[in-house]
């Protein structure tokens, strides 16, 4: 696959991207109240505790919504049109959501469709992305 628009990790999110390189999907989990959170944040938005652990999740989820792009918003995606982006709710907790592309890109999409995470290595960028396939 040609070059991607690589993510710019920050100090909060670096462990998430590092775990993906090892093909592990992780999110933060509050040590105090047990709430999962994603994207990476310094404190728990429910109990405001600082303590957390990176917790590996099942990679199971459902499609809450999706968009299929037919328009070039960045040259990196020009050769992928049309491409679907999924809005996925992870099985671990209501409202715990992530984006990702559908693999294969032309698979049928329905609302509530179960999906599973897969790991897509982009060697030139030294990045692994989590993507989603029909479960």
């Amino acid at each position: 696959m040609s070059g991607i628009l690589a993510p710019q990790a920050d100090l909060d999110s670096a462990p998430f991207w590092a775990a993906l390189r090892e093909h592990r999907l992780t999110v933060q989990r509050c040590d105090h109240c047990g709430r999962y959170r994603f994207p990476a944040r310094p404190i728990c938005p429910r109990c405001r505790s600082w303590g957390f652990s990176w917790s590996e999740v099942s990679g199971r989820g459902t499609v809450l919504s999706w968009v299929v792009s037919y328009h070039v918003t960045h040259p990196a995606f020009a050769d992928q049109l049309p491409y679907p982006v999924l809005y996925v709710e992870l099985a671990e907790q209501p409202g715990l959501t992530m984006y990702g592309n559908l693999r294969p890109a032309d698979a049928p999409i329905t609302s509530g469709m179960p999906v599973r995470a897969l790991f897509e290595d982009h060697l030139t960028d030294a990045v692994t992305l989590v993507q989603w396939a029909p479960a």
Partner: protein, 393 residues
């Protein structure tokens, strides 16, 4: 929390006394500063004040415009005691106006100018690339690897969810574009004035499914400016008085990452009750609504969130023809961002002022006395703000 008493005392105390534009084009060939100055000079002339009377300047931008200090210097204003400049695009225009209203009420300014100037088509385009967009913070990392970059894609996620949950259709989205175009046909400022049918809409090319090209707003070079002062001072100026009856803002539950999962409800559902509380009126008393229409769906969902129809009923509401001059709620009477031009919200406010003055020409809504103007962010659950304007009886 709504600390109502302090705000209710400010109801109708601020007036929008002047409106001005720089022409809406696809390629201005001018700097945003030049566009800002043209709109400000026009607004001062419209209000009947001297430029030397301006002692407050405010704007919002996304690093695509002229800063307040540049505008003050270019106008030759040696001393501007009140200024306000915030980062933000679509969510901000009513919020900036509300800051000016507070400054005027406190006596920090006597005549404040609010402007928005940009080369939104020939310069930095909101819809073209996330690479050029000035998105603050870290959250783009979770979207850009997947090509989720433009507001059209973000709002399409909400539209798709609304369609799945409530049965909203493409034809209903198209009804928004068609009804707004009919207003633009009567608006000489509008960039898109050729008649539009639902068949035209349905045959326009797909951009971010379910959005077609004609679901998406224009990208526009241009500027708009307002002169604000107190109601008492406005009574001595050139135009019929239009007051700010109320305002409300909300940061919203999130910006880019959308925890929570519900994309069928905008932050207008937070703003609406506060807006109505400050204004002392409800949706049934609104004569005209200028609703932020970056996308057709933005209008449909705000009609629900501001209480003009029930949740999930936005589709049938717009398909009924409700937005037309003879409908239950004329909406985007200048053609909106879909057909007039897109300067991130101030042109909605200026159009509402024209309607309330009775100066909207062929597109005048008979007897318009109360108008609601709204904002929307680039992400459906992010910050927003709104104004209620009125023609005092």
């Amino acid at each position: 929390m709504f600390e109502g008493e302090g705000l209710r005392a400010l109801r109708d105390q601020t007036a929008i006394a002047g409106i001005g534009y720089a022409p809406f084009t696809k390629n201005s060939g001018r700097t945003p500063l030049s566009l800002a100055l043209e709109a400000i000079l026009a607004a001062a002339r419209d209000a009947g004040i001297s430029v030397d009377d301006i002692d407050g300047i405010a704007t919002h931008h996304v690093n695509d415009s002229a800063a307040v200090h540049e505008v003050a210097a270019a106008l030759g204003l040696g001393d501007v005691p009140w200024y306000h400049e915030e980062f933000g695009g679509g969510s901000r225009a009513p919020a900036v106006i509300s800051q000016a209203a507070l400054a005027l009420a406190a006596g920090a300014s006597r005549y404040a100018v609010v402007y928005r100037a940009l080369n939104g088509r020939s310069g930095m385009r909101m819809g073209a690339s996330g690479g050029g967009r000035a998105v603050p913070g870290a959250e783009l990392q979770y979207q850009q690897p997947y090509g989720l970059l433009a507001p059209s894609q973000s709002y399409a996620l909400g539209a798709r969810m609304h369609m799945e949950r409530y049965g909203t259709t493409s034809e209903q989205l198209g009804a928004v574009a068609v009804q707004q175009r009919a207003y633009a046909e009567k608006n000489q400022r509008a960039l898109m004035r050729t008649p539009l049918t639902l068949a035209d809409y349905l045959s326009s090319r797909m951009i971010a499914d379910p959005f077609r090209l004609l679901d998406c707003c224009l990208e526009t070079d241009g500027a708009c400016a307002l002169v604000l002062t107190t109601r008492a001072r406005a009574a001595d100026l050139a135009q019929p008085v239009v007051t700010v009856r109320g305002w409300a803002s909300a940061l919203g539950p999130d910006d880019l990452s959308k925890p929570g999962g519900d994309l069928t409800r905008t932050s207008a559902s937070l703003v609406g009750p506060r807006l109505y509380a400050m204004a002392g009126i409800g949706p049934a008393e609104v004569d005209v609504a200028e609703l932020y229409d970056a996308f057709s769906f933005s209008v449909l969902v705000q009609l629900e969130d501001f209480g003009f129809c029930a949740k999930g009923e936005g589709g049938p509401f717009v398909a009924s023809g409700a937005l037309t001059p003879d409908g239950t709620l004329p909406v985007n009477t200048h053609g909106g961002f879909l057909s007039e031009g897109y300067v991130h919200g101030l042109n909605h406010v200026a159009e509402a002022v024209s309607q309330l003055r009775g100066q909207a020409g062929q597109r005048q809504v008979a007897g318009a006395a109360v108008a609601l103007c709204s904002a929307q962010p680039g992400y459906i659950t992010g910050a927003t703000s709104a104004l209620m304007l009125a023609r005092p009886s």
